[in-house]
């Protein structure tokens, strides 16, 4: 202490210690909240969150600087442990959804591998789509490879999707042949994801999956088991899946060459519902090259999926991948077409895009996309590819596009407008954003 006060250079225009710090005695509005300790993690999460919200509200009302206080309130409303509102969509064409998420950290004085975080989330949309899920996850932080650690996840989800579009199978289906079907999709799974050297990660998963399609008479009058396999069949699967992912460089870059690849193989073993066993092989390869943001970055993405039915089996139509607009996982391919536009057991897609800043934070992206679906893997050649071109206005934060409004055009369907985005870089507000979906 004595040294703290004396072992300092004297003040000659630079910082130094003035005196034992006399502090203002004036009372501070909104003194710290007191929270009773709780051994129960759920209770602890909730009472802590409540105390934070009360304090945020008090300071919002009584302290200076309203805008920063609003930000803090939003942080505590939407992130961290406790109960939070969530928003977004359930699936494309499902409408805007909102709901609640409960996040609990099961932190105890325990080894890392015994520490779990859990999330429970439910959300429903204006169009009657809804989903609920729960996830328990532990990151085995005791081992890390280039900043990544193995992850063990147990999760369960249920989605109720009352009105999904179906245009028939193949590339030549008429746009006015659109019919709607319902699907209930339930799954439980356990997965292990392990990073290994050289930017590679391997993953394994075992899942139990239940699907229940619902078709009305209108749908049934147009499609049958041949044109929409499994339309009247509820299926139950056990699905083991393995995957290998590779990233170069193994830490993200905005500039220079980067590439990523993923190969996954899963076997959908039908244990109930009929002859619907099949295997799924999916491969993705992306390569990008980033230059100064005023010059731009170029990116090529490719994806192929092959669903191979066992002998005498079929792939249910509701498990076949789609191209056009956004698919059920909200991936945009062929943006100049309607969502879910083309469907078949096999798929190939390519995209080349160029993005650059115009005036920060606004940028522009131009893109061209090709792709098609096929009944057989041998159909996935370079002939008769569907195409879509377009441009996006991008919103750039932290030197990269995080949201965009896309204007996709195709000769067959003309203009389609899509909005996409992620929560990266929203000023640190979303660093604690969690949930299941």
């Amino acid at each position: 202490m004595a040294c703290a006060l004396t072992c300092l250079p004297s003040w000659t225009g630079a910082q130094t210690l003035d005196a034992p710090a006399p502090l203002p005695e004036a009372a501070t509005p909104c003194p710290p909240q007191t929270v009773a300790p709780h051994a129960d993690p759920l209770l602890r999460s909730l009472v802590t969150e409540w105390a934070l919200l009360k304090q945020d509200w008090c300071k919002l009302m009584r302290w200076e600087d309203t805008w920063p206080r609003i930000q803090y309130l939003l942080v505590d409303v939407f992130t961290g442990p406790g109960l939070h509102p969530t928003g977004g969509i359930v699936v494309p064409d499902g409408g805007v959804a909102a709901g609640l998420a409960l996040n609990v950290d099961w932190n105890t004085n325990a080894p890392t591998y015994q520490r779990f975080s859990s999330s429970v989330e439910g959300r429903g949309s204006e169009n009657g789509f809804w989903e609920v899920g729960a996830k328990v996850q532990t990151l085995l932080a005791g081992y890390s490879e280039r900043g990544k650690s193995p992850q063990v996840t147990l999760f369960a989800t249920h989605l109720d999707l009352p009105r999904l579009p179906f245009y028939g199978l193949g590339n030549e289906t008429p746009q006015d042949g659109r019919k709607l079907f319902g699907l209930r999709d339930t799954g439980v799974a356990a997965s292990v994801d392990v990073p290994i050297p050289f930017g590679v990660a391997v993953a394994g998963e075992l899942a139990g999956l239940w699907y229940a399609p619902e078709v009305d008479t209108s749908f049934g009058s147009v499609f049958n088991e041949t044109t929409a396999p499994g339309l009247h069949t509820r299926t139950t699967y056990v699905r083991p899946r393995v995957s290998v992912a590779w990233n170069y460089p193994d830490r993200g870059v905005l500039y220079g060459l980067s590439s990523s690849a993923l190969v996954s193989y899963g076997f959908y073993g039908a244990v109930a519902g009929g002859d619907f066993s099949f295997s799924r092989l999916e491969a993705r390869w992306n390569v990008g090259f980033g230059l100064d943001p005023r010059i731009g970055s170029l990116r090529f993405a490719s994806r192929v999926m092959v669903n191979d039915p066992q002998s005498h089996s079929n792939v249910p139509f509701y498990l076949q991948p789609t191209l056009g607009g956004a698919d059920i996982n909200d991936e945009n391919v062929l943006r100049g077409y309607s969502n879910y536009r083309f469907r078949a057991p096999n798929l190939v897609a390519y995209e080349l895009n160029y993005e650059r800043a115009i005036i920060d934070p606004i940028g522009i992206r131009i893109f061209g996309q090709l792709g098609k679906v096929g009944q057989h893997a041998s159909d996935l050649g370079f002939d008769h590819l569907k195409s879509s071109v377009g441009a996006s206005l991008t919103f750039r934060l932290g030197g990269a596009a995080i949201a965009e409004i896309s204007f996709g055009w195709s000769e067959a369907e003309g203009l389609h407008v899509y909005g996409t985005g992620n929560t990266n870089n929203l000023g640190g507000l979303t660093a604690g954003l969690r949930g299941v979906f």
Partner: protein, 483 residues
């Protein structure tokens, strides 16, 4: 470094190596100005750990360090139970409730007595009041628990009088690091829309370049609207170090969250896994050393943004000036604050080939970061910095010693493989041979007996050169009192 500069430094070494012994405990301010050896200033700012918590128990190993021993200090809980400072900090799981560190919490932790002097006795009761175990707030890491930080702290220079700029949370403190001010706010949120471009814009106007490198998943705190050209991801930092294309100023951000892509948080924020941050510290250091030219021209500061509610024993000082301008000082009315009071002490380690091992007691705060960058690349901060805190902040350049570039490696047991890997076989480079000869010349002036016992002409391979340089530097440091 320019050829002339390096020779000039070697010429100074005879006096410098000995004089450095005196600066081991108390660093005398040297003449202010730029240092021609430094082309890159790199700052790694971690999250929410106090000085004593991270570095305090290094006191027996770094003479003069103002750290702690178990039992030195205590805080009382709400029921009067005494909680003594001790080791036993765990990597994860002791902060089930995030220790509160907003403005009102820090004032509670400082434990202001009737005379207005901080007693530093409110940490335990503050954490207890927030629902946490008060004993955990007093625990410190043993040096061997943090191998990278401890290795760098012992091998380079610890600044044990570095305080967070504001007795409050992340946002105002990180603003001081980027802007040299928090614009009068003690509780600013994390979206900084109307702040200008801070030190990055100032560098740009001077024809220099500053950049923020961040982790893709968790992003950058507060600076997201800075502009595209000011950003890179952490992988870009590694590549820029390797290619020798680092900007003049680089601010490195750790990952702030455990992300779905398996990225583990490296910021050391309670209750994130602390060794991940320790490994990240080593990764940043290792990246700088991947290119010898980059290393020889760099200054790295490892610092925490604020104490995160965790105990430190040194009362924050009060400055003779506040912030803003003399005509229009920054003040907060509700709650009252005049920006003369600093926040709680945080760890700071200065890593550079031009620092001697030891500890320095110069008073620093986060405004010292842009002040140092301004001093080195633009001009005197008293002229170029906009507000009082930064204008008056001590700069780090004065801590650089007139010594030849240190190429020796710290003892870091976890990464022996790496140390072995960089000593590759093959003939020594022209630069290495030149460096060997210059070191031998310096030895001849300072330690002629050591010089006579060594033979620079026998250095033929990279391995020979590395061993010669390490031996020479060890001898010089021994002479300067750092054995």
């Amino acid at each position: 470094m320019a050829e002339l500069g390096r020779r000039a430094v070697l010429g100074l070494m005879a006096g410098g190596a000995v004089a450095a012994a005196n600066s081991r405990v108390l660093s005398e301010p040297r003449s202010e100005g730029t240092d021609p050896r430094i082309r890159h200033i790199v700052v790694l700012m971690l999250e929410n750990r106090s000085f004593d918590h991270m570095l305090g128990l290094l006191m027996p190993e770094i003479p003069g360090l103002r750290g702690v021993k178990a039992g030195d200090y205590f805080n009382e809980g709400a029921d009067g139970t005494r909680y003594y400072v001790t080791d036993g900090a765990k990597y994860q799981g002791q902060f089930t409730v995030d220790p509160a560190h907003e403005f009102e919490n820090v004032h509670e932790q400082l434990g202001i007595s009737g005379s207005g002097v901080p007693s530093m006795r409110g940490f335990a009761s503050s954490y207890q009041g927030a629902g946490g175990d008060p004993a955990n707030i007093m625990r410190c890491f043993r040096p061997e628990q943090l191998p990278a930080l401890s290795a760098l702290a012992k091998h380079y220079l610890v600044c044990d009088n570095w305080f967070s700029s504001v007795p409050g949370a992340t946002a105002p403190n990180r603003q001081f690091a980027h802007f040299g001010t928090s614009f009068g706010q003690i509780n600013s949120g994390l979206i900084w829309l109307d702040r200008g471009r801070g030190i990055y814009g100032r560098l740009n106007a001077a024809g220099k370049h500053g950049k923020i490198y961040y982790a893709r998943g968790s992003g950058t705190f507060g600076m997201t609207f800075l502009g595209s050209k000011y950003f890179g991801l952490y992988g870009d930092f590694v590549a820029d170090c390797r290619r020798g294309s680092l900007p003049d100023y680089a601010f490195v951000e750790p990952s702030y969250s455990d992300d779905p892509d398996r990225t583990i948080a490296t910021d050391q924020h309670p209750d994130h896994y602390v060794p991940a941050g320790d490994q990240f510290i080593w990764d940043v250091y290792k990246a700088l050393r991947a290119n010898e030219e980059t290393w020889r021209t760099s200054l790295l500061l490892i610092v925490w943004d604020e104490h995160g509610g965790i105990f430190d024993h040194v009362p924050p000082p009060r400055l003779p000036y506040g912030d803003g301008t003399p005509e229009k000082p920054f003040r907060s009315t509700i709650p009252p604050f005049d920006f003369r009071e600093l926040g709680v002490r945080v760890g700071a380690v200065l890593v550079s080939p031009y620092v001697n091992p030891g500890v320095d007691h110069t008073l620093f705060e986060h405004a010292s970061i842009p002040a140092t960058v301004t001093q080195q690349f633009i001009g005197d901060p008293r002229e170029h910095a906009p507000f009082l805190r930064e204008k008056n902040a001590n700069r780090l350049l004065k801590l650089l010693a007139p010594i030849p570039p240190r190429l020796d490696w710290p003892s870091y047991p976890v990464d022996r493989k790496l140390k072995g890997a960089r000593v590759s076989e093959g003939p020594a480079t022209a630069f290495q041979l030149e460096h060997v000869q210059e070191l031998h010349n310096a030895l001849a002036r300072i330690l002629p007996d050591v010089a006579r016992a060594s033979n620079p002409a026998a250095v033929r391979t990279k391995k020979d050169a590395t061993e010669f340089i390490a031996g020479a530097m060890a001898a010089l440091h021994t002479r300067a009192g750092y054995a």
